[in-house]
Symmetry: C2
DNA sequence: AAATAATATATTGTACACAATTTAATTGTG
DNA sequence: CACAATTAAATTGTGTACAATATATTATTT
């Protein structure tokens, strides 16, 4: 792609009224760009970005059920089940039914899964570097995105 | 911001140093939430969000090649080719090889494809409403996301 | 206790996202 | 002109994203 200094008009930037439309595309393309940035870093750990997100959750709190991971990541079982099976096949986690309620599946980190956390520490800093933003800018953007997400989810069924 | 149910700690919000990590997840989940918001509105038009993005591009400039659409949307042929074939099957576009260079495929809107633009006008306003943000806020967020995307893409091969 | 409802996960099917490879057409070079 | 290099799409294969449905387990109700 080389030339990144091309004029960024985004979609329909000429019409000022279409800020909503512009924002949606900016959000979409920025998210994809972020995934592309993560890809080479994570592929060294044999992980995809969504798999990495699951591990982040487990590093914070091990032994969660599929459902609680799902709520944390705004994901669903149709996505998580096969993803978790791949993580299990990779030897990063273990899947086992809860004894007190056999509908629930408990996800536990393996030794290898726990060790990955240390290996992944320098991933963060490289990402932060690639954003070209200051901590303050990242923090501001983070807050706005959380607000946006909260509003969108709140209004999901009201449209 | 009334009832947002669960407290939003995002991922690892406890560690202030992980702003980068938080931002990545906020971006990811906000983008997915946006797609979910679009879904019911677009399904009335029988479209998916990526298909809608292609139509937005064509409404702005008809008769583009696959490659130019690809650059505009930060997408690639592996994604676009099947997507465009579906849009063709839906009767929204036509795909034809360029006469002067038969490697290129020209994408042209059909009458039905052009007419959809009018039908989609109220989609924007409903999205803007769901964001719960003011025009100024949307504009600011848009600018920051474009900056972020530009930086990420610029640094893609430098990591 | 049997029937019913609710819950948690799994399965199926469609549609991206993207790397890697392939195919076909065009351009460049000797 | 012949032939390698380049370019534009298409193809293949893996991994989500998500709606809809199925299955199994637990809780409730009659």
């Amino acid at each position: 792609m080389t030339n990144t200094t091309a004029p960024d008009k985004s979609l329909s930037a000429t019409k000022v009224s279409n800020v909503d439309l512009q924002l949606c595309f900016a959000l979409y393309s920025a998210s994809l760009s972020m995934t592309k940035t993560y890809k080479p870093l994570l592929s060294k750990l044999k992980l995809t970005y969504p798999q990495y997100l699951v591990l982040l959750v487990l590093w914070e709190k091990d032994g969660m059920t599929v459902n609680s991971i799902s709520e944390r990541l705004f994901s669903d079982s149709g996505t998580l089940t096969p993803l978790l099976k791949r993580l299990e096949k990779l030897g990063m986690i273990q899947r086992q039914r809860a004894r007190e309620d056999e509908r629930k599946v408990i996800i536990t980190l393996t030794e290898a899964g726990r060790l990955l956390q240390t290996e992944s520490t320098n991933v963060h800093s490289q990402i932060a570097c690639s954003t070209g933003c200051t901590i303050t800018e990242l923090q501001a953007l983070n807050n706005q995105l959380i607000m946006l997400r909260t509003n969108l989810i709140k209004n999901l069924n009201t449209v």
